[in-house]
Symmetry: C2
Subunit: 286 residues, 2 copies
């Protein structure tokens, strides 16, 4: 344990954080937990604020989880700025930052994994086959270490939130999940730590995604229920962005994540694209 910001503790070792959490629980303290990969933005801050409101102790984890990246992906160049993250956390009255090394989380001979079947193979799971297994596994570990009463996820990673919710229910984990709204930059681009890797032009161009999502919602409002037509409009719109490649554009059921041919209220329009090799996701709820 190491204290570098007044009033906020930073833990790097699994055991010391877990012991601390078990002690807090015995004292009857409630723990709100915000798991992140760091490089915090307003979306993360909204999660921290929600945790601050309903828990005695707020724990923020910062860990770029190698197990949820595939070999060709951006694990190594995922943006990191621990000092900046700590000063944001301190400003938001976070009590504890958990900042483990990969070796702390995945020691030699590590071999246990959590899988949520079905949900994990749809949407992002198609192009990132082991991604959600990695997410479910690291979350299970972090939850066991932090011993939360509440955990907080953002709706930008809609599929992730659904999968974690399912896992918590299936495995009888003894706490509640809160899923908070997606936040957007002024241009409408969904906030993401990865946005910083977009060139100025790409960042401006990427705003077209949200414009397309809004148009899709307008089509729905005006009576359009044919998923194929709404998707075609959005794909066309996205393809106008320079250097873009579409991973998927899909309209799915909000719980099963299965593709729909008829759009209903609460259906999800979800997209994933690459711009300049940066992968972005976004979604809206009809």
């Amino acid at each position: 344990m190491e204290i570098i910001f007044v009033g906020m503790k930073i833990f790097k070792a699994v055991k010391s954080l877990q012991d601390n959490s078990l002690r807090l629980k015995l004292e009857g303290k409630s723990i709100g937990f915000v798991p992140t990969m760091g490089y915090l933005h307003q979306g993360h801050i909204s999660l921290i604020r929600a945790a601050r409101k309903e828990s005695n102790v707020v724990v923020l984890s910062i860990f770029v989880n190698p197990v949820q990246f595939s070999p060709g992906e951006d694990c190594r160049r995922y943006p990191r700025d621990f000092k900046r993250d700590c000063s944001i956390a301190r400003n938001e009255n976070v009590d504890i930052v958990f900042y483990p090394s990969s070796g702390q989380i995945y020691p030699q001979e590590y071999s246990s994994y959590v899988e949520v079947n079905g949900l994990s193979s749809l949407l992002c799971g198609k192009s990132r086959p082991n991604h959600f297994r990695g997410v479910a596994t690291v979350c299970t570990k972090l939850f066991n270490i932090v011993q939360p009463d509440f955990v907080y996820f953002g709706q930008k990673d809609y599929q992730q939130a659904i999968i974690i919710r399912r896992m918590i229910k299936d495995l009888n984990m003894p706490f509640k999940i809160r899923v908070l709204p997606l936040l957007r930059e002024e241009s409408g681009l969904a906030m993401s730590s990865r946005n910083r890797y977009l060139s100025k032009t790409a960042r401006e161009n990427a705003a077209a995604i949200y414009k397309g999502l809004k148009e899709a919602k307008d089509l729905f409002k005006n009576g359009q229920r044919d998923a194929a037509k709404i998707k075609a409009m959005l794909k066309k719109k996205i393809k106008e962005i320079p250097n873009v490649r579409i991973d998927y554009v899909d309209i799915v059921d909000s719980k099963s994540l299965k593709s729909l041919s008829q759009v209903k209220k609460q259906s999800i329009l979800a997209v994933a694209i690459w711009i300049d090799k940066i992968r972005l996701i976004d979604n809206i709820v009809f």
Copy 2:
């Protein structure tokens, strides 16, 4: 919740047991947990007694876990006698019996599984490919429901104990595992709920397994280190049992469960056989 034995509570619902456990933890009580599939024998009783010694509250679960059986296996005809189990539990001063239905544990849309790679595909995992995934999953669930400080397993299911130990460590589960010695009937046959399905003759014949294991140990004591030779002796011995079929006879490392060609101290000699279609396992430590 339902009370049918004075001083011992029986829970059938996940939520009521979990709430009760969380309350006990808040009160600072330690919980010792013995997960079983019921039809208790002296082996289970030794686990209960160990739990009774070191915990304030002893929880025994009785659940024949369908997910750890393959289609052709004996899930349906696995021996059950809830009343007899309860009276044994009461006698041993168990505080709480958890006796859920399959629907309580695996509700509709259930889809989350825990896997311990590597270890799960060796020995019993070869002929029972999803067995340990089912065991790891149900244990994770039961642990989250019961909130134990200590969990107890028998060494008869050596591979199971190793896998659960690995899972607890890997997933940072906040409690300790105790693995207790295998117990034997007077004949030397390893105690198992499945023994009751053996005919009188088969039960007598099955005692040859332990005789073979002891001979193997004698060979080792007399300097034999060649695993192939020890296995050949044991296989020959077992094949003399009428109506027997060998699943495996193997000498493995006590931690990695990998096959050894040279036997060492602490190596495990593990066997699985079918007699009259009843599958029996046994092992000794060199």
